[in-house]
């Protein structure tokens, strides 16, 4: 064949060289994708998986019962602790609790979907009667005010209900506010904006905390409840665990957290406040009027209130203290007034409730529900079990009330 073609081709015929039009974009595409692959890989490796929980079962000659509970996430770990111990004594009964939320606990109990409903906030007595339910308190819990303010010279700041209500209302916005300074003489407070955290989910803790604010400061608007219309821009977190994490991430933050999460909050390096009693509202500068949430102080508050309730009731969302004659939330408005008998009542205390039916469809089954609760408020409520979740035993007055109420439930 002729090799004449080996002569150099015309200049416009060259096949060599780049395609001059937009050569960049293909490399951009590849680069973007490869970079993203790396990001995705990191994400993929970072993701974990929650482990499922398996329910245990047992066998025996007698009828087997699995008693179901749903509701408050505060009660859940406590029941989880009690259940297996109860099964040790009564091998034919298994307690199956679920932490879903107090509202769900109430709703499920109302509809008869569970044997026991768990809630941090009592069910209104008239509503309870309508659904043939009774409130049965099983433990005393309390709430702590944690904050993330680095470099303080004291282990616990002094805060009172008025100051807290003003903080969440956006009236007090900086840690060096004169009102906070007045309650903490000699403490060097930083010039740091306050970021008040709240629970985004429905929560008994929100009920307690908004009740505290509502009762402590006249300027508080919007009432109290398991949900609240918070001031715009304040961050909300899911659950107490979310609050602990959120507060840890938020310099200058302050949050209300159930005492069950004390150890995890402390482990995260957070500090909690001493809260002012009623006397603190009168004389907020006296350190003696600020009380720490020790077991003794929490018990004192509960005793102060529950021994003085007239008529006797356990339908209490927040135990601020005991003013004789008061029968509901309004008692002790503004803080706890100490007495000679109970000089240091910590003013942010509540009861943890279970709801059970007074008209059970299966009385034989209900026998075990009642047996379990009777055990749970007496011999089952050992100090180690309670202290694991930082709960306190019920006061004798409440135990007496419970026993009476449980005795009224028809069983087979």
């Amino acid at each position: 064949m002729s090799q004449a073609a080996s002569a150099p081709p015309p200049a416009n015929e060259t096949l060599i060289g780049g395609t001059t039009r937009r050569p960049r974009k293909s490399t951009v595409g590849v680069g973007l994708a490869v970079g993203l692959a790396v990001v995705l890989l990191a994400v993929g490796l970072g993701g974990g998986y929650a482990l499922g929980k398996s329910l245990g079962g047992s066998s025996g000659g007698t009828t087997q019962y699995t008693l179901t509970e749903t509701g408050s996430t505060l009660i859940y770990p406590y029941l989880n602790l009690l259940g297996p111990n109860f099964t040790k004594i009564y091998p034919n009964v298994v307690i199956s609790p679920a932490g879903t939320g107090s509202g769900t606990g109430i709703s499920s109990a109302e509809q008869g979907l569970v044997d026991i409903g768990g809630t941090d906030a009592y069910l209104l007595p008239n509503v309870a009667a309508q659904y043939n339910l009774i409130n049965v308190p099983i433990a005393i819990s309390s709430q702590l005010i944690f904050y993330n303010v680095p470099g303080l010279s004291v282990p616990h700041l002094n805060l009172n209900g008025t100051v807290l209500a003003m903080i969440w209302s956006g009236v007090i916005t900086n840690w060096n506010d004169p009102l906070i300074q007045a309650a903490n003489p000699g403490v060097s407070l930083p010039n740091l904006p306050i970021v008040p955290l709240h629970r985004s989910d429905g929560s008994g803790d929100t009920f307690m905390f908004t009740s505290l604010c509502f009762l402590s400061w006249k300027g508080w608007t919007g009432g109290y409840g398991t949900t609240y219309s918070w001031k715009a821009g304040q961050p909300g977190y899911q659950g107490n665990a979310g609050m602990v994490t959120g507060l840890t991430n938020t310099r200058g933050g302050i949050a209300y957290i159930g005492i069950s999460y004390l150890s995890s909050a402390l482990a995260a390096g957070l500090q909690y406040a001493a809260l002012g009693d009623q006397a603190a509202n009168v004389n907020g500068t006296n350190p003696a009027n600020y009380i720490l949430p020790t077991p003794t102080n929490i018990s004192e508050d509960a005793n102060l209130a529950l021994e003085n309730l007239q008529p006797p009731s356990v339908a209490i969302s927040l135990i601020l203290g005991g003013v004789p004659g008061a029968t509901n939330l309004q008692l002790g408005a503004g803080g706890t007034m100490p007495t000679a008998q109970y000089p240091t009542p910590y003013p942010d205390v509540n009861l943890e409730y279970t709801l059970i039916s007074t008209h059970p469809s299966n009385p034989a089954r209900q026998t075990w529900v009642v047996t379990f609760l009777e055990w749970a408020i007496s011999s089952g409520a050992t100090a180690p079990r309670l202290s694991t979740v930082n709960f306190l035993p019920l006061t004798p007055a409440v135990v007496g009330y419970d026993m009476q109420a449980l005795a009224s439930v028809p069983i087979g």
Partner: protein, 342 residues
């Protein structure tokens, strides 16, 4: 997603396509009979989803009784006093605006990245890295949303609070929505957008990948044979031919972005407001319904309001879905493809 069904070619000469030549009578009649039978069998199955949606809507309607459906329901204000001290206002538009503020950017980011992923896997990457990238994106789809939420507020939130937000404000602070106060703890709209973006990507990327992959090889080769670079073929041939599928992917992603509740509830900061900028906490309709549900069991009027919100969310989801179906509808008309070549 079957776009490979061959379409009969019309005969030459006619300037408009001629219909498929009629089959012999017997077969035609038979086939018709059979397809009618199949139609009868299929219709209850086809109606099932419709029935379910109708049932859900009916239950929601019944539960809510549209008790709050006054003018303020469509407003931008929300106020609820659980203890009944002050009249409540349930404005759903506030939440719709917030949903749009979060879902819009997330969808835009996710669509862009998904397109890059899809183009890379289908066109550029060699088979092994391409499969790896596909595997990784699919893996993202398998992670439960609650895990995204926990990862968001445990791992990402501190980083967003201390680094991501200030950096973004430093560069783009002059743009509306990028300046102003930061969210100290890191939770807020920006984090929700970020999490949602990652959650939407596997869906949009998968659909986009399939759409691009289903572009007939003939078209691609025709483009290359005309002297187009691979990128030009992507831009002018593949994207064009896969247009409907790509839009379908975007709408599918929008459905996910608007409907996601758990993960968003955990990282958005749950503040009932139209956020003044990208950083501050806000809420979306879906996440609000999710995190208020437990409280709604305490407060009957909150429950009716949430049920009405759920109806609105259902309506939005249906509209998005229908738009998506429309957008991705008739890809089959685009092209025919042959099998292999010699």
């Amino acid at each position: 997603m079957d776009r490979r069904e061959p379409i009969p070619r019309p005969a030459d000469g006619a300037s408009t396509p001629t219909p498929v030549p009629a089959l012999p009578n017997r077969r035609a009649a038979n086939g018709e009979g059979r397809s009618r039978l199949r139609g009868w069998l299929a219709s209850p199955v086809a109606l099932l989803p419709l029935g379910l949606v109708a049932l859900v809507a009916a239950v929601l309607l019944w539960e809510s009784r549209l008790a709050n459906l006054g003018p303020s329901f469509w407003g931008l204000n929300y106020f609820f006093d659980p203890s009944g001290g002050a009249p409540s206002v349930f404005g759903v538009s506030l939440f719709l605006v917030d949903s749009a503020i979060v879902a819009g950017p997330a969808l835009a980011l996710a669509s862009g990245l998904s397109l890059a992923i899809a183009i890379s896997t289908v066109v550029y990457l060699p088979p092994a890295p391409s499969r790896l990238l596909t595997l990784l994106t699919n893996l993202l789809a398998g992670i439960p949303s609650v895990v995204y939420g926990i990862w968001g507020y445990v791992v990402l939130a501190p980083y967003f609070g201390t680094t991501a937000q200030p950096t973004l404000r430093g560069f783009l602070g002059w743009l509306p929505g990028f300046g102003g106060p930061l969210s100290a703890g890191g939770v807020g709209s920006l984090l929700a957008i970020f999490i949602l973006t990652i959650m939407v990507i596997p869906i949009t990327a998968a659909v986009m990948r399939e759409s691009l992959r289903n572009v007939p090889n003939d078209l691609v080769e025709a483009g290359l044979a005309l002297g187009a670079t691979p990128w030009e073929v992507v831009r002018r041939v593949r994207l064009r031919a896969a247009r409907r599928g790509l839009w379908g992917a975007v709408f599918l992603g929008l459905g996910r972005a608007i409907g996601e509740s758990v993960a968003v509830a955990m990282v958005i900061g749950a503040s009932i407001q139209i956020p003044p900028n990208l950083y501050t906490p806000s809420t979306t309709l879906a996440s609000f319904i999710f995190y208020q549900l437990d409280s709604a069991f305490f407060y009957p009027n909150l429950l009716t309001a949430l049920t009405e919100f759920a109806l609105v969310l259902l309506a939005v989801a249906l509209v998005v879905n229908l738009l998506g179906q429309r957008a991705s509808g008739a890809d089959a008309t685009v092209i025919v493809t042959g099998g292999g070549r010699g």
